[in-house]
Amino acid sequence: MQVTTSIRRKGLGLGVAVMAAVLGLAACGGGGSSAAGGKTKLTLWVDGSISGSPEVPVQIKTFEKAHPGVTIQAVIKPSANYFATLQAALISGKAPDLVSLYAGSYLNTLEPYLVDLHAPGDVISNSTLNNIPDEAVWTKSGKVSSGTYAIPESEQFYNGYYNKALFARAGITSLPQTWSQLYATCPKLKAIGVTPIVYGNDGNGGEFWSLAEWSYLLAGATPASAWNGFLTGKLSYDSPAMIAQITNWAKLYTDGCTNANALTDANNQPEFEHGKAAMIIEGSWDTPVFQPYLKDNLGVFEPPYSTSGKHMIVELAGQGFGVTKSSPNKAIAEQFLASILTKSGQTALVKTGQIPIYTGYPMPPANQQLLQTAGGAGEQVYPMFDNYMQQSVTTVALKVLDQAFVGQITPTAALQQIEAALQDLPASQKSAIYPI
């Protein structure tokens, strides 16, 4: 009957679809085990996307040319779950040979899986390692000799950017060095119709990321030599000095120095790029992002978060690479790492607008200015503190600092929560590992 035939036809159609799918799976599936005769194949995991690390394919190609018989396959892993995917792979022994890493205390959990590049018999010479600026290398306890687990390809700073043309138009002739000088720039910039400092989440969802400024806020309250106290609990986050700092910081918002939707503005970067805002505080990885828009008008400044006009700049490691212990090709992998530090490797990096490890390369003026500032007399260079903070404290800080900034909670309340998170930790997690 009609019904039966139509069911039969549908059943047949469905059956064909399923068969095709099953055959399709069998055909495409079954992954690529590399062991082709003669050639060595390495895999390199890249965090995020190639467009975020355009120097990597260039460095790979250079290396492959110099080492015929070796191929490196760069595999992109989405940023969102990079750490999870990496950890799963490491646990199961299916990890790649090389992994890209970004600085952060989460790396401490990866330490058991990574090769110590400082160990004797290692391909990368210790003298090479010693020549890398301290802040840039990822080490077990701040010293290369204690164990080096990743080498960086670039250096970064946390810094502010400003629009030189807008500053000139507003009649601001020198960079602000103290809180009060910073407040003073606001009415001038508002008078020419731009947002003085723009805050936002860079289109990432959630709230703005306050850790770029955190180290500067700490530095304005106490010198970096004392910061280990923040790790061990000897120094309190909710001290009067710190409360004063956060209060001054929140004053930027109440004074109208920032946009009203500072917490969640997804367009903060475009607003700066298109000249609607005069200042933005993030990090040197933004130079290649902003340069095409502002060109010669792109200036850099250190957040002047102190009353005394201290000169301080916060430095951190850029993207780094490590070799996994499970790799069957450790020696070659390490040779690749070494090649990143050579002239060709660093040149490839410089071309993308990042700051190289070593000096002597031509750079965009903004980056040059950063290095000049860092090398200036009376200047103090601090490693980023959030790299050393305990993870659970960092999580709380990320949540409450934003709220304090826009006045949803008081500075005292915010700092008390951070302090509580620190106090809650067991003693084993309160070590003085900050290298200054």
């Binding site: 009957m1 039966t4 969802g205 709230e207 949803q408």
Partner: protein, 333 residues
């Protein structure tokens, strides 16, 4: 996000046997099957039925046991250790006590989960109304039934992006408000600790609306329309028909839709939070599931994450049990 949403069964509630013409495919008479003696209920038949039953249920049971239960027990084991993926140390219940007594704002987190649960009936009520209107075959009902699924087809991440932009200070919602003279009410919805969670819940309700409506459409189709007519003849208005006739018959489907939405509220809403608010401002939109993610994948702390996962699981089972009792079906959830 691989768990499919539960749906209804479009079963009928017939009180009599369907006429022969309405049975399945053509009744081609084949060789007399062995089961012809089924109605007699001999013990041999029961045994054979039981054997067939076990056979039918075996593949499913084996697969679920291996792919769902086994890792669950493994995760339960790890919840009593600190496990970073490489080494584990037995720590007893300390992950759980740490969770309940030491996690910052655990009260707020649990409260957020409670709000999710409380918001579900509102969404269900709206879906029921929509399904009922569809069932009345109002003009455009077929088109509506086709359109209602579209939000469901989007992934949580995309919904998060779309609504994140829609709820921004310069987004669509504020634009609509300004256009309709409500400019005073415009604000940064996701940046306000008081409004972010409601905004999130509205987004969640929007996303789940289609599924619930489909469930109810299926369910309503099983109600003989004679009931509608009979009620009308009695002089009842539409609303009372809905309340006193339809709702009791739909109890099972309401329960089903509740469970479906509940599971998504505990597992799928993560994608929304991740994209829209990252749990903030502060902890105002952090749910237990989001906290699990942060503990496990941000901190590498699988022991605590496993413990949180167990708590999440237990909460869902408890709430589902309560719903099951309320909707009056003791033999099935």
């Amino acid at each position: 996000m691989t768990q499919p949403f539960s749906g209804s069964s479009g079963a009928a509630t017939f009180t009599d046997v369907a006429a022969p013409e309405d049975r399945g495919p053509a009744a081609e008479v084949q060789r007399v099957p062995r089961r012809v003696g089924a109605r007699s209920g001999s013990s041999a038949t029961f045994r054979r039925r039981a054997q067939t039953g076990i056979l039918f249920a075996l593949p499913a049971t084996v697969l679920v046991a291996g792919i769902m239960l086994l890792p669950l027990f493994q995760a339960a084991y790890y919840s009593f250790t600190t496990w970073n993926g490489l080494t584990s140390t037995y720590v007893g219940f300390s992950s759980y006590t740490q969770l309940f007594f030491h996690t910052v704002s655990i009260g707020q987190i649990v409260e957020n989960n409670a709000w999710v649960v409380l918001s579900i009936p509102v969404g269900l009520a709206l879906a029921l109304v929509a399904a009922f209107l569809t069932a009345t075959r109002a003009v455009g009902w077929k088109l509506f039934r086709k359109l209602v699924f579209f939000p469901v087809a989007l992934s949580w991440v995309v919904i998060g992006i779309v609504f994140g932009a829609f709820l921004a200070q310069d987004g669509g919602l504020n634009a609509v408000m300004r256009g309709s003279g409500l400019a005073r009410l415009t604000q940064d919805w996701l940046g306000s600790p008081a409004l972010a969670m409601p905004a999130l819940l509205v987004t969640f309700g929007w996303a789940m609306f289609g599924i619930n409506t489909i469930i109810f459409i299926s369910g309503l189709a099983t109600i003989p329309p004679d009931l509608f007519d009979a009620a009308r003849v009695d002089g009842a208005g539409t609303f009372r028909v809905l309340l006193h006739v339809v709702l009791p018959l739909m109890r099972r489907f309401v329960g089903l839709a509740f469970v479906v939405t509940l599971i998504s509220g505990f597992t799928g809403i993560f994608g929304l939070i991740y994209v829209m608010t990252s749990g903030g401002p502060g902890f105002s939109t952090t749910t237990l599931e989001f906290q699990v993610y942060q503990e496990a994948f941000s901190l590498g702390n699988f022991g605590t994450a496993a413990a949180l996962g167990m708590v999440l699981f237990a909460m869902m089972v408890v709430v589902t049990g309560v719903v099951g009792v309320i909707s009056g079906r003791s033999s099935s959830i």
